[in-house]
């Protein structure tokens, strides 16, 4: 941990991308579960995620990054799903 004499005034972080070291997944009380058979690959979850916790590979949803997902549920709320069935469902942690 830094001493006060080592800090940059102005509470500014000069190192770009350093937030990858701040893992926030432990804040989660609900976790999103991806249901691939209901997914139409619209990427709305990726667009709406306030973090960058929706993993995308080759332009397609590939699951969640649970190191950073705080379980806010925005992805599940926005997911249009297929024929009334959500491709993302929120489940309580620890169940």
């Amino acid at each position: 941990m830094k001493k006060w004499t080592e800090l940059e005034p102005g509470t500014v972080i000069l190192e770009a991308g350093s937030s990858v070291r701040f893992k926030t997944g432990s804040w989660r009380s609900f976790r999103p579960r991806w249901v691939p058979e209901n997914c139409i690959q619209c990427l709305m979850c990726w667009l709406y995620c306030p973090d960058m916790a929706v993993k995308v590979a080759d332009g397609k949803v590939a699951g969640f990054d649970y190191d950073y997902c705080k379980g806010c549920g925005v992805c599940a709320k926005e997911c249009p799903g297929k024929q009334g069935k959500k491709a993302i469902v929120m489940e309580a942690e620890g169940k």
């Binding site: 941990m1 830094k2 001493k3 006060w4 004499t5 800090l7 940059e8 005034p9 102005g10 509470t11 500014v12 972080i13 000069l14 190192e15 770009a16 991308g17 350093s18 937030s19």
Partner: protein
């Protein structure tokens, strides 16, 4: 040399802001400050400054925009009074905590309720603990000079802090007085071009402002803020010294008026200090050794120097144009702390007897006879009379 003019305090300050040619001015009007941003808007419309004007929807937004513009890397100004400053409150802390050298004239006005547009110091005193540097001004000339110096002080690389320049609403802001402008070139030469520090718009060096900092580092950041505040006094003196060479007008951390050999003294801010100095002269003519101390740099407060200037006195009255309900007046608390430390360090004597008068709230006139009565009371206390009451309202109908 400069030009001698007859102008209001607001006009003087608006011209200081024009001469500083800021990059951004975010504004929201409020009496008695509106006149400053109205005049500044005209300078923008007339092409007399390069400034980008942001009309905000509230003072909270005006200060938020100022912080954003300062983080982007610009020289930024705004101005406010009273409720406007109160609405800015949370953003004031953020401007200071993020070391954003925003310059803000504060035209001092009473706080509601009851609603009142006239001058007192409740607004500025309420912002005492926000981390801003505060310079207080007796006259249009002092407000103009302090505004110019504020840019050099706030933008100094050792501190990078926002600066509030205070002057009394209406009594100074709307009264025409004689003062002296510096030439535009003199001011721009004195202030110099803006040097940004860690600007967001430097795309080659991406950075983050405003991170969440919890128990692991918050305490360290506040310790750093305390350290930076401790550097302000030297910067103020250095800038004031350079300003004296330019203008011939010399400012210190405070003004001492006939204090060196005085036995009694008033401590008083802003315009009422002018009235009081006349009365101090009258008492001197009567053979009573009266003096006055007028603080200029209120935050950070120069405790050691003020203590040194007051500790030899027999009786001091701290005049507050604001109240801390349930406490003493805000200036009294500072002077009381100052004197306790000075007397302790001195190791001998009890130091001056200390009383506190609350005067002039909501623009209530402060007359020479008010100062006279207080000096008379101090004279009696200095002569051995007991202190009748520590804190008392004066100029009030009983």
């Amino acid at each position: 040399m400069g030009k001698i003019v007859a102008v209001t305090g607001n006009e003087a300050v608006a011209n200081a802001l024009r001469q500083a040619d800021p990059d951004v001015c975010s504004l929201y009007p409020i009496t008695p400050q509106s006149d400053i941003v109205q005049r500044f808007s005209s300078f923008v419309s007339n092409g007399q400054v390069r400034t980008e004007l942001l009309n905000a929807e509230s003072e909270h937004s005006a200060m938020s925009a100022a912080i954003g513009a300062a983080a982007a890397g610009g020289r930024v100004i705004t101005a406010t009074s009273s409720q406007g400053l109160a609405l800015m409150w949370e953003m004031l802390h953020i401007a200071a905590g993020m070391n954003m050298p925003i310059i803000m004239p504060l035209v001092n006005r009473a706080l509601s309720a009851p609603i009142n547009i006239h001058g007192d110091h409740s607004d500025g005193m309420g912002a005492r603990d926000t981390g801003w540097v505060q310079l207080w001004s007796e006259s249009a000339q002092e407000a103009y000079d302090n505004t110019i110096m504020a840019f050099r002080i706030g933008e100094h690389m050792d501190i990078r802090l926002p600066v509030m320049v205070c002057m009394d609403g209406f009594i100074v802001s709307h009264s025409i007085a004689r003062m002296e402008y510096l030439e535009d070139a003199e001011v721009s030469g004195f202030i110099g071009p803006y040097q940004p520090k860690n600007p967001l718009l430097d795309m080659e060096h991406p950075k983050s402002f405003g991170p969440l900092i919890l128990t692991d580092l918050y305490h360290e950041y506040k310790r750093l803020q305390h350290e930076i505040m401790g550097r302000v006094q030297d910067v103020v003196l250095q800038v004031s010294d350079e300003f004296a060479k330019l203008s011939g007008r010399r400012y210190g951390l405070f003004e001492s008026y006939r204090l060196e050999d005085a036995e009694i003294a008033l401590v008083i801010l802003n315009s009422a200090a002018g009235t009081s100095k006349d009365v101090v002269d009258e008492f001197r003519d009567k053979g009573i050794k009266a003096g006055l101390l007028k603080p200029r740099l209120f935050r950070p407060f120069p405790y050691a120097e003020v203590g040194q200037a007051l500790k030899h006195l027999k009786a001091v009255c701290v005049m507050d144009r604001a109240d801390s309900f349930g406490g003493y007046g805000p200036m009294f608390m500072e002077i009381s702390s100052t004197l306790y430390q000075a007397v302790q360090a001195n190791g001998a004597g009890a130091g001056p007897k200390l009383i506190n008068k609350i005067y002039g709230l909501g623009g209530r006139d402060y007359m020479p006879h008010d100062a006279g009565r207080v000096l008379e009371e101090l004279h009696e206390i200095a002569g051995g009379a007991p202190v009748r009451i520590v804190k008392e309202y004066i100029g009030v109908r009983e």
